[in-house]
């Protein structure tokens, strides 16, 4: 029963992919909903940590300029998969990734591709706010500096201001840009990390439970921000909160024990899930 579903699920996107090659208008995974063109396409992604297999053949199309949420119980592989999209798993020596992940049709695990350049295109925000122990200005200027994207100090100032504005932090910190970023509150720190990610000019922003260390008010601000950012960026968010997934995302993917169980429009996942496990999870029967 389960296997059937997995198989049919795997076949769906493959069809979509062929259609993408033909430049046809797209329907999304398994043809369940309509969305923007896929930005990230994963095919049969498998991850091992040493001998332990963490992900089993995940295939998914993540549409451009929208919010895609990954939900599922702890240890289900959602964060692992997220970290495959910017090859952060490369920094873990025992981690092996197989399968194919394409961004704009180009394989990101291609040997010729430098993961460092990939990460400039695919930014990431972590569970715990991790501003560098530098000033607020230097935190945001870090990315432009290492990539040499700005030619002058004025230009850099401009990027810092724009990024902080986009992250909704400018008004709170504009008078203390030379203060350490670690002195901000938890929610401000997380928005600083978002501003830092934006400053590099990424196309995709990955967020790994960005609100789990924050209070409800700070969480609400970040969620608003995610919603606004979706106009310009492709956002993938891992969350433990189903309410959060329902509030901010257009697509939701449900992971369980390393399998992508179900993927579709958020509304459809939360109102009419087709898999029993999804239903059990969103109604709070486990996880």
């Amino acid at each position: 029963m389960t296997d059937d579903r997995e198989t049919s699920h795997n076949q769906g996107p493959t069809t979509v992919n062929r259609m993408a090659d033909l430049n046809m208008p797209l329907t999304s995974a398994a043809g369940l909903f309509t969305a923007n063109a896929p930005k990230v396409t994963a095919r049969d992604v498998t991850v091992h940590y040493g001998d332990k297999q963490a992900l089993f053949g995940v295939s998914i199309d993540i549409p451009e300029k929208s919010v895609t949420a990954f939900i599922g119980p702890s240890g289900c592989g959602k964060s692992t998969f997220l970290r495959c999209i910017n090859r952060m798993n490369d920094t873990i020596p025992i981690c092996r990734v197989a399968g194919e992940i394409l961004i704009d049709g180009a394989d990101i695990y291609d040997r010729r591709l430098d993961p460092v350049l990939l990460r400039a295109r695919v930014g990431m925000v972590f569970q715990k706010p991790n501003p560098f122990p530098k000033t607020i200005y230097e935190n945001v200027a870090y990315g432009p500096r290492i990539h040499g994207t700005t030619a002058s100090r004025q230009e850099l100032d401009g990027v810092v201001e724009t990024s902080l504005r986009k992250a909704g932090l400018w008004d709170e910190v504009k008078d203390r840009l030379d203060q350490p970023g670690t002195g901000l509150s938890g929610g401000q720190q997380q928005r600083l990390c978002i501003a830092r990610a934006i400053a590099v000019g990424p196309e995709v922003i990955l967020m790994d439970e960005p609100c789990s260390a924050l209070d409800p008010i700070a969480t609400a601000r970040i969620e608003e921000l995610i919603f606004e950012l979706a106009a310009n960026f492709t956002i993938v968010i891992v969350t433990h909160s189903m309410q959060q997934a329902a509030r901010v995302s257009q697509q939701t993917a449900f992971f369980h024990l390393g399998h992508l169980v179900e993927y579709g429009a958020t509304e459809q996942i939360f109102t009419a899930p087709s898999d029993k496990r999804t239903q059990d999870y969103i109604t709070g029967r486990f996880g």
Binding site: M88, V116, R119, R121, N130, Y142, H147, T182, V200
Partner: protein
Amino acid sequence: MIALYFVLTALVAISAFAVGRARSQRLKVAGVRLHSLPSYHGLFLAAICTVPMLLAVAAWTPLAPRYVEARAVAALPEALQPATGLEHDARMREIVMAAEGRAQAPSPEVAEAGRAYVAAQTTSKTVLLVAGILAALAAFSWGLPRISADFRARNRFEALTLWLLIACSAVAVLTTIGILFSVMFETLRFFQRYPWWDFLFGLQWSPQTAIRSDQIGASGSFGAVPLFVGTSLIMVIAMLVAGPVGLFAAIYMSEYATPRFRSLAKPLLEVLAGIPTVVFGFFAALTVAPFIRRTGEALGLSVASESALAAGLVMGVMIIPFVSSLSDDVITAVPQSLRDGSYAMGSTKAETIKRVILPAALPGIVSAFMLAVSRAVGETMIVVMAAGLAGNLTFNPLEAVTTVTVQIKTLLTGDQEFDSAKTLSAFALGFVLFFFTLTLNVIALRIVRKYREQYD
């Protein structure tokens, strides 16, 4: 007798503990709910009984010899009473010798004083024993009735423990202050004999003073600048070796090496710090110095057989582990989340190390460097063997130089009289050394506070 006193103190502690615990245990068995566990009642009782005993012996130690000497001297007849301090010491030596039967007393009066000395000793020890026991008993009879259900033995005992902790940290601080003062007073005595500006700014170091007035060519000149220059020269050479090598080794071990390699290499590197400096010393004198001289000659340079370069290089190797091991620890302590944050923005490993990890670890790295510098400045054995004794004022690392520590060692070895300028100059040098390391530490603290990038 004193050993007996300490055995007694231990016995008092054990029995007070047992009594206190048994007493409160009985309350507990009777069904009373105790505020503190029985063992805390025992510990508290033991503590209040032993503390007065220890205080008694602490007060007795400096007082008893005075009392005993005073009694012994008082037993001497008027004619033999010492007039000066020197005479007093000589007389006491005779009395003690007679009392202990090690020598024949020079006169029956001294023999008599010897007997008084022995008697006074017995009295003082008996007084201590009795006073100690009485104090313990008083404390015991004060403490025992206080054992009750409501008595906060745990809090009281913890308060006493706090005092113990304070006393232990005071020992470290007081020792430092004590050393500082004792060195400072000798230094002031030296400056009474020799002008301080000549010492600090004089360019001539030849500390041979005349012992007899008819000796020639030994006027004594204590211009310490050549020593300061020599010390600094060797320190700079050593840090030029140890700084980069240690720091880069630390970066490799903490960021690039596999955990397996690190677990092997780190202890091996730390073994380097465990090699006795005298071994490094003969390595410097017998292997490195001749090698440098031969190499120098091959290049047409004149190199002294004892050179600052040889001593500095070997000292640099010796302090590598101080830099690398401590730096490695602080770099490893930088949270992984900062590395992840940097990688996730598309920086390479090297950029991450340069721009995020090293700034975050900077305070620790600076203190590692400071520790290494203090070691380099205070190191004696290597420089004694490899750097030379002559107080040359030179900045040329190929010549023999001498350091502050070498001169202190030379001035104070062998038979010395402690009122000559020659010997006292060693204290002045020691004081300068102390002051230099202190200043270095203060500067380092300032730097660290200014540039630290605090993470938590």
